[in-house]
């Protein structure tokens, strides 16, 4: 079975052609990461599971949530309430519930896997559930929690991610058009140092504590025997649970950040607006739902002002596609001689077509380069011959 490879191209390329001024996003993704294991770090897993539950409640489907949990608190033998994880001593809400999809678990939660996930440098055999399938129209929420320090976050007692690693990963995401806008949240000690080096556009970052500040746990459950949630996350959740009650909520990030009470959080949360177009002013107007909820919006034709330009682009694209299709037919004819391995995903096929086009241009360049090289060699030979002739005289 072979999919018609190039007929889908216009559709796939469509988002790329949309002018960046069109701020509305087309999908929402969330990457939720806990980086610590062990029973006494119960709260970090509860933090992440709380966020997981919230974004799910506000409409992001499981398929668009990447959940990384390094340890299984629900099944830890020390858990007095087997099969559950709570984020509050009242134990009203079981975060583990009966519908939870952990995408990366246990020792799969590594710095390498996290960066590969963000930048999509993953092998073809990695299933969809483990990929961040965002595109240039996606708003991405990245939430991280664990034990950190000045410009690093520890992963599972064995390695750590630096703030430059994160910044570079996000830059790659931007270059590969893997997000439209991003909200980066981090709850760890000295969290605000982690986003210090970000340099890619359209990122709003916030953290729980300044440099040299600890990020504290909120309270412990004396029956579970451990702290169940961190302060900053607790107050974020408090806002999200009590204020953002439905997907139609019009509350903004200004409301969320304004809800932080430093006397309650016991540390100074930080914000970074400068990467966002329009800076703090525009950033604060962003809806909470832009990051925590899922858009169900559909792109309506003719909304944009410069329709003629867009049509012109489409016309040119069609020409390119027709040319490519013609070339595709010839290659297909060649391929049909050996139809043994024809099960190729359409995305890959598309890439192949691209590569061929590029290779042709490179081929022309290569010929001129070869002539240039041959000329240089000839010149050298002449020079050498002349020199030896002069010497022998």
């Amino acid at each position: 079975m072979k999919l018609p490879p190039l007929s889908l191209l216009p559709l796939t390329l469509l988002p790329l052609l949309l002018p960046p001024s069109l701020a509305a996003h087309t999908s929402n993704w969330a990457v939720l990461v806990s980086t610590s294991r062990f029973w006494f770090n119960y709260r970090h897993l509860a933090n992440v599971l709380s966020l997981y539950r919230t974004v799910k409640r506000l409409g992001i489907p499981d398929s668009q949530i990447l959940l990384m949990l390094p340890d299984d608190m629900a099944c830890n033998p020390r858990n007095a309430f087997p099969g559950t994880v709570y984020n509050n001593a009242d134990r009203a809400l079981d975060l583990y519930g009966d519908n939870i999809e952990v995408d990366y678990r246990g020792y799969e939660v590594t710095v390498e896997n996290f960066i590969r996930l963000l930048t999509d440098r993953l092998g073809e055999d990695v299933p969809r559930g483990k990929r961040l399938g965002s595109d240039g129209g996606s708003n991405v929420l990245v939430y991280m929690t664990g034990h950190g320090g000045n410009e690093f976050l520890k992963f599972q007692d064995s390695e750590e991610i630096g703030s430059w690693d994160l910044a570079d990963a996000f830059e790659q995401m931007w270059e590969k058009k893997r997000y439209n806008e991003m909200l980066f949240m981090i709850d760890t000690c000295q969290a605000n140092t982690l986003y210090k080096h970000f340099y890619s556009p359209n990122i709003i970052a916030t953290g729980s504590s300044e440099i040299d500040q600890s990020s504290y746990s909120h309270h412990a459950d004396n029956d579970v025997g451990v702290a169940v949630i961190d302060r900053w996350t607790y107050y974020n959740l408090d806002f999200l649970e009590t204020q953002v009650t439905s997907p139609t909520s019009k509350l903004t990030l200004a409301d969320l950040f304004g809800s932080y009470d430093e006397s309650k959080i016991h540390s100074n949360p930080g914000y970074r607006w400068d990467l966002f177009p329009g800076g703090e002013e525009k950033g604060r107007e962003r809806l909470v739902m832009d990051f925590f909820g899922n858009v169900q919006g559909v792109e309506v034709e003719g909304v944009g002002g410069n329709e003629t330009e867009w049509r012109e682009d489409m016309r040119r694209l069609e020409e390119i596609i027709n040319r490519a299709r013609a070339r595709g037919k010839t290659t297909e004819a060649k391929k049909s001689e050996a139809p043994g391995e024809e099960v190729i995903a359409h995305g890959r096929d598309l890439g192949k077509g691209k590569v061929e086009g590029v290779a042709k241009i490179e081929g022309v360049e290569a010929w001129s380069q070869r002539i240039l090289g041959a000329g240089a060699l000839l010149g050298c030979a002449l020079f050498w011959g002349g020199a030896s002739w002069l010497e022998s005289r």
Binding site: F38, F40, P77, R78, G225
Partner: protein, 616 residues
């Protein structure tokens, strides 16, 4: 360098420098003692803290209480009814109780012989398998049938049984829990822990029919009281002065005083107002206990196996009931249950001066090291001195007439004229001193053997005999040596040098293993540095052999501080029975593997003996 080295080399022969070592040694001892006395001050000691994140002491609610009180009372009644019954009856009752809690009981018989006495009994235990754990680790709850004073541990055993029944109902254990009722407080735990690690001598100690994983922590309950108690006395000294990890002690203190409001005492300091004097006293008591290295409770036997253990002893008459003690144990067990790996974060070498104040090895070690170093300094000084040529025979009142023999030295193309005296190499006659020191150290095996193998009844008379023998032994030894070979001044110096070198080395090494023992023996041996010869740089006979007055004073001091006399004095001061003490030591060697006597007879006593020979 070329400019400095001749100056330094010249300094070597400076008579002022050569006179310095005795004073330097004295200074070392002085600083060592002052150092120790400074430790209780706030500036030098530290507040205790929990180092291991996983422990989370006191963060759980404890539920032991309520109807468990009735269960406890019933068990206590059963145990009181067993007084005077034989082992079989005790085993049957205990196994009944274990079985009623759905635990499988097991037993182990043991029998030891030491100082002519037989120590035999039976351990009964049961293993509570962690419902969701992987059975690779275990924590142990111990209650000895009789405590260290020989009293029936009635509430302790009943509490352990009630807790076993209560723990069985929880599903949150990550490690197996072993409930162990030992036959007594000294031999029983040793037999059990030896057999658990397959280190037992199978002839006297039976192997264990049931085993679990690696032992991660041990809590011993000692409550022989028949009434409410006032505070918990935490005992933590192990065999040979080894200590449990400070985190375990801190966890117990933090839970008892912080979570449950039970007062905590240590080292039998029932009253502690946190004054300097009381801190020092607590610390010194801890050091004495560590230095003697004997078993201070059922927990002691576990510590040599690197299993951290403490004893909780209920003391005083107050308003805390057994349920409070049970809750304390419950909370400690919840903390131990949280452990992810063996105790390793906190200190293993520490001195406690209050339940919440300690000094770590880095702070206190210099004290014992300085005392040990004083011997080494003197040994090096004596070695240098023994290599010096004797002074010229002619009096130096007419130096102009005395022609110093000169010699031309050529080196690296340079020529120098130096006095011949500086170049002669003096041969050190090492055989006699080395042979004497080595043989005396080996000779220490004789008293060691005698005191370990004598029976309880003959021990006091043996010791008395030995004390008298010891009184005249140095003189006898010195005379018999002189009869064979006259001791030259160099022999005299070398003998002292080598003996002090060995002592200094031993004590410095020992200080890292058992700080207190090293310090005590070091302090008791300090006269050895100063007796033996007058402080001088000369090697003439009159300057090397002590004068008569010096001999008498030195002999007196040494005889007063001889090992047997010190043992007598200590027994007298503490009001301990000598025979009992020696029997205890023999038991320690045979059962617990106590090394204190080896140090006394094979390190201290030989050094003392050579000191005695030198002043005769």
């Amino acid at each position: 360098m070329a400019f400095i080295s001749p100056t330094i080399l010249a300094l070597r022969r400076d008579p002022r420098l050569l006179k310095l070592p005795p004073y330097l040694s004295a200074l070392c001892i002085f600083i060592g003692v002052v150092w120790l006395c400074l430790l209780p001050l706030n500036e030098y000691s530290r507040h205790t803290y929990i180092s291991e994140n996983a422990l989370l002491p006191g963060q759980v609610h404890t539920y032991f209480g309520g109807s468990e009180q009735n269960v406890f009372n019933a068990y206590k009644y059963e145990i009181q009814a067993l007084v005077g019954k034989d082992q079989k009856a005790i085993y049957e009752k205990l196994s009944d109780i274990f079985e009623s809690a759905n635990l499988r009981p097991a037993r182990q018989k043991y029998e030891y012989h030491a100082a002519g006495t037989t120590y035999s009994g039976e351990n009964v235990y049961a293993i509570l398998h962690a419902p969701r754990g992987d059975a690779t680790e275990a924590i142990v709850l111990v209650a000895a049938w009789t405590n260290m004073d020989g009293d029936l541990n009635q509430s302790g055993v009943a509490l352990a049984l009630a807790l076993a029944r209560y723990f069985k109902r929880w599903s949150l254990w990550s490690k197996d829990i072993i409930i162990l009722i030992t036959g007594d407080s000294r031999a029983g735990p040793q037999a059990w822990v030896d057999a658990y690690h397959d280190e037992h001598t199978s002839f006297f100690v039976a192997p264990l029919p049931l085993k679990s994983g690696a032992l991660q922590g041990v809590v011993v309950i000692d409550n022989a009281l028949d009434h409410r108690f006032e505070s918990l006395h935490i005992v933590y000294d192990g065999i040979n002065g080894q200590l449990p990890n400070l985190d375990l002690f801190n966890t117990a203190v933090s839970i008892a005083s912080g979570q449950l409001g039970i007062g905590v005492s240590l080292q039998r300091m029932w009253k502690h107002n946190d004054s300097y004097q009381e801190r020092l006293q607590t610390m010194l008591r801890g050091m004495v206990s560590q230095g003697l290295g004997y078993s201070s409770g059922p927990h002691s036997s576990f510590i040599p196996y690197h299993v951290d253990a403490i004893t909780l002893q209920a003391v005083g008459d107050g308003w805390q009931d057994e349920m409070a003690m049970g809750r304390c144990v419950e909370s400690i067990f919840r903390s131990l249950n949280n452990l992810l790996e063996h105790f390793h974060q906190s200190f293993f070498f520490y001195l406690l001066m209050q339940a919440d104040r300690f000094v770590s090895i880095g702070t206190y070690l210099p004290s014992a090291m300085l005392v040990a170093v004083n011997f080494t300094i003197m040994a090096i000084a004596l070695w240098i001195r023994s290599g010096r040529p004797p002074a010229p025979k002619v009096a130096s009142t007419m130096p102009e007439k005395e022609k110093t023999e000169m010699e031309i030295v050529q080196k690296d193309g340079m020529t120098a004229i130096t006095p011949k005296e500086n170049l002669t190499i003096l041969e050190r006659q090492l055989f006699l001193p080395v042979a004497l020191v080595v043989s005396l150290h080996f000779l220490g095996v004789i008293p060691l053997y005698v005191f370990i193998n004598s029976s309880r009844n003959t021990l006091p008379s043996c010791f008395l005999l030995f004390t008298f023998l010891n009184l005249i032994l140095p003189t006898v030894l010195a005379t018999s040596i002189r009869r064979h070979t006259p001791l030259t001044p160099q022999h005299h110096l070398l003998l002292q040098s080598i003996s002090l070198l060995v002592l200094g080395m031993f004590l410095a090494t020992l200080a890292t293993l058992n700080f207190s023992l090293s310090l005590f023996i070091g302090l008791l041996s300090t006269p050895l540095t100063f007796t033996g010869n007058p402080f001088s740089s000369s090697v003439d006979a009159k300057d090397v052999f002590p004068s008569n007055a010096r001999k008498y004073i030195s002999t007196l001091v040494l005889q007063l501080l001889s090992p047997p006399v010190v043992v007598w004095a200590v027994c007298y001061i503490w009001g301990a029975d000598l025979g009992e003490t020696l029997a205890e030591a023999a038991f320690g060697w045979k059962v617990n593997g106590l090394w204190t006597q080896v140090v006394v007879w094979c390190v201290w006593w030989p050094a003392w003996m050579i000191g005695g020979v030198l002043v005769n």
